[in-house]
Amino acid sequence: MNGVHDMGGMHGFGPVLPEADEPLFHHDWEARALAITLAMAGWKRWNLDVSRHARERSDPADYLRNSYYERWIDGLGRLMVEQGLLTEREWATMQPDPAAPRQTPPIRPQDVPALLDRGGPTARSEGQPAGFAVGQRVRARNINPVGHTRLPRYVRGHVGTIMLDHGPHVFADDHAHFRGENPQHLYNVRFEAAELWGADAAFRGDVRVDLWESHLESA
């Protein structure tokens, strides 16, 4: 989707503000929000791509005003309701509905480190054959889906060069909509700054973007 989350190249957000000796969390609730989000993913009612898309579907004004973990909780609420872990009323009132179905058991403390150490690799040994080769010129397709895509607006229509072939990976654009993994080659593509930004390019160099087979066409 062409959402406000797709921020590459936007102006108007002001300077970057580094913080000296920044704590890991600024508030306790941020740590709890992180942990709740990770723990709820353990129910496997969604995957990481689904959850990214859930955050993108926040009201655009809310998305911009919310802090990072607020965005997470907003997306999580949407997912829990859509995937049947909470009722709409429970999410709205934060009160348990005794009539709601009960899931069990939750993620156990002793399982957490191993779960995190394992992560969720997206590389797959098999997938569609590679359509492009390293060194080849490609154009990022001009797609504008209403749903999730990992092809940012700022590279669409632009020509670049394949720099790396990461091999077959789960295709996020499909995976985010429960359409399966559809593994296909993931490439790192170099786009020259002047190609992306024209004469207004404020630097000499390039931007390297990871794009899937479906995002590219021959240039």
């Binding site: 797709d6 102006h11 957000f13 002001g14 970057v16 503000l17 580094p18 913080e19 600024h26 508030h27 306790d28 609730w29 709890r32 992180l34 942990a35 709740i36 990770l38 723990a39 709820m40 129910w43 990214r52 955050r55 005003r65 919310n66 802090s67 990072y68 973990y69 607020e70 609420g77 872990l85 934060m94 009960r102 899931q103 058991p105 939750p106 993620i107 957490v112 480190p113 150490d117 992560g119 969720g120 690799p121 997206t122 590389a123 990992r150 940012p152 700022y154 790396l164 990461h166 993931l186 992306l196 404020a202 630097f203 000499r204 390039d206 931007v207 390297r208 990871d210 794009l211 899937w212």
Partner: protein, 211 residues
């Protein structure tokens, strides 16, 4: 309209409201944890375990060890540039948001910078959880169109002839910048070198300087 009388929680760029009473967000997350616990959907002890993992097990010291090894062991450096996931795993560093790693090396005429314009992807196992600025809209929007301006916000001014290479983490590949080893560090051992390597230098918003 609201520029001068913000009534909303608008700290997404820094989050400095330590002195304030519990925010809406704090109350809401507390209520959510209570609800999910009551429904059997989360175990609060498991939440503690998640937090403990990120407070104690992962963080930028992990990445710094990798960088220091690469600086001091040419064979390791080659393995790291060839297959970063495997080379990093030699330190028993692996896991969520670091499943597929690529290491990119700065040089006198090349500076790498990592961003995620679409959300805030970041190599958690080697760098820990991302700082607020990395997740900020300002960084996400500007890093790909004006990286020199962004570096200026960090006080880092590169010579005009240095090429900038920005890595936008649009998929599940996570990038680790190997900063330049500073001059004057020839006498330091690997642990001493690791102590010099800052988090920001492994994202690309800082250089490493000699002590």
């Amino acid at each position: 309209m609201s520029t001068h009388h913000h009534d909303h929680h608008h700290d997404h760029d820094h989050g400095h409201d330590h002195q304030e009473p519990p925010s809406d967000a704090a109350l809401r997350v507390k209520a959510l944890e209570t609800l999910l616990t009551a429904k059997g959907l989360v175990d609060p002890a498991a939440l503690d375990a998640y937090i403990d993992y990120y407070e104690t097990k992962v963080g930028p010291r992990n990445g710094a060890k990798v960088v220091a090894r690469a600086w001091t062991d040419p064979a390791y450096r080659r393995r790291l540039l060839e297959d970063a996931t495997a080379a990093i795993a030699e330190f028993d560093i692996r896991g969520r948001q670091g499943e597929h790693m690529v290491a990119v090396e700065n040089g006198p005429k090349l500076h790498n910078l990592v961003v995620c314009t679409l959300c805030s992807c970041y190599p958690w196992p080697v760098l820990g959880l991302p700082p607020v600025w990395y997740k900020s809209d300002a960084y996400r929007s500007r890093a790909v169109i004006d990286p020199r301006g962004v570096l200026g916000d960090f006080g880092l001014v590169l010579d005009d002839d240095v090429e900038i290479r920005v890595w936008d983490s649009t998929a599940e590949i996570r990038y680790l910048v190997i900063p330049e080893r500073p001059a004057g560090t020839e006498g330091l051992d690997e642990a001493q070198l690791a102590a010099l390597v800052s988090r920001d230098s492994m994202i690309g918003t800082a250089k490493v300087t000699a002590p």
